[in-house]
Subunit: 241 residues, 2 copies
Amino acid sequence: MDYELYYWPNIPGRGEFIRLALEEAGAGYIDVARSHKKGQGVQALTALLTGEDVQHPSFAPPFLRHGDLLIGQTAAILTYLGARHGLAPEDEAGRLWTHQLQLTIADLVVEAHDTHHPISSTLYYEEQKAEAQRRAAIFRTARIPKFLGWFETVLNRNPAGPHHLVGDAATYAELSLFQVIEGLRYAFPRAMARTLGEFPRVADLSCAVADRPRISAYLASPRRMAFNEHSIFRHYPELDG
Amino acid sequence: MDYELYYWPNIPGRGEFIRLALEEAGAGYIDVARSHKKGQGVQALTALLTGEDVQHPSFAPPFLRHGDLLIGQTAAILTYLGARHGLAPEDEAGRLWTHQLQLTIADLVVEAHDTHHPISSTLYYEEQKAEAQRRAAIFRTARIPKFLGWFETVLNRNPAGPHHLVGDAATYAELSLFQVIEGLRYAFPRAMARTLGEFPRVADLSCAVADRPRISAYLASPRRMAFNEHSIFRHYPELDG
């Protein structure tokens, strides 16, 4: 039975963290809102988001349908996929640690988004540009190094070696970290050119994820969406260092 | 074996979500950074946060130590406690749904915090007061109703009735929702006086949580910390409606 992923069709956004896990798993899935088949498309997403008969509605996309299950919140979806596809350890300690890493990535994603929308997502960027410049400056100089430094430490302390975040295999958290590094490099190319070199383990891991056979094939496929200025990671040169 | 909770000693903050779960469970725990015993206190927290021999360091408090496990990230800690103390359903669908609710509460908590720190947590409130007023106005009028409306819907659609978020029993998500409602009422008393009445199920649930015997005893004890202007929910009258 195929998974059904529901996410906005024109932005990679948080849906991309789910896509990367599905692709690495080699799982069959329908990217529902991007489909033009009957009964699919963005209307199918809206129906599950706002339909009055949905018992477990999500606050926002992404959400995943699989059989009777409808799961929202990126990190919750990833715990489900991780357990089913070997993208997280089976033991409780490893499972929790992987999830903790993912939730820290989620915190970084919110902060990255809010660099261009520090006042509200309901206002245009142009309406909060001055505030965005203040927030982005601190994000670039203090927050990016703090988060990447923490992931560098996690890699250095992995008893199985610095090539994975958890144990000696890829987890969904590491696929997500790749996506964040890619996003930050897109949004802040000058700042990241200066900063990423300070965190060689993180940089190496990100390259290694891109080289994984299924991920590499996915990145070269039309299923992979480019970053753009409607999503989490936006390139506004005035926000870069 | 007692749990060890590590969180900053002078603010309720995110530590409070863990305390509420531990208290409802009737679990023994040490609130380490608030303890004056030898080997405890805030130094013990700092040692686990920055110590070079900590294999699974947390990015930030709270974290929980239990035997060999050291777990960070509020929502991850709560999945652990929820499973051990019957504060979440045992079946996969119920467990995931409870976690999804908690992660949505976490999103609301970030937004509540950022009303007073829209530019950076490293700056004083006074350095971002103008931006805070812009952000808080939208939070009060658009975001609080959107989040509370979603929880109202969740309660209305619970097949077991509107007295719990999940099934017919208390979960950690419902304890957390209580804390958020209390925090919002503290931070935005005028706005919440207008808004909470629109969401009677949420208001009733919050009262019911406060009346649970163990929670009621906890709230009356010195273990419960008052909200203050150093934590997530801060009362700055100029940010209220």
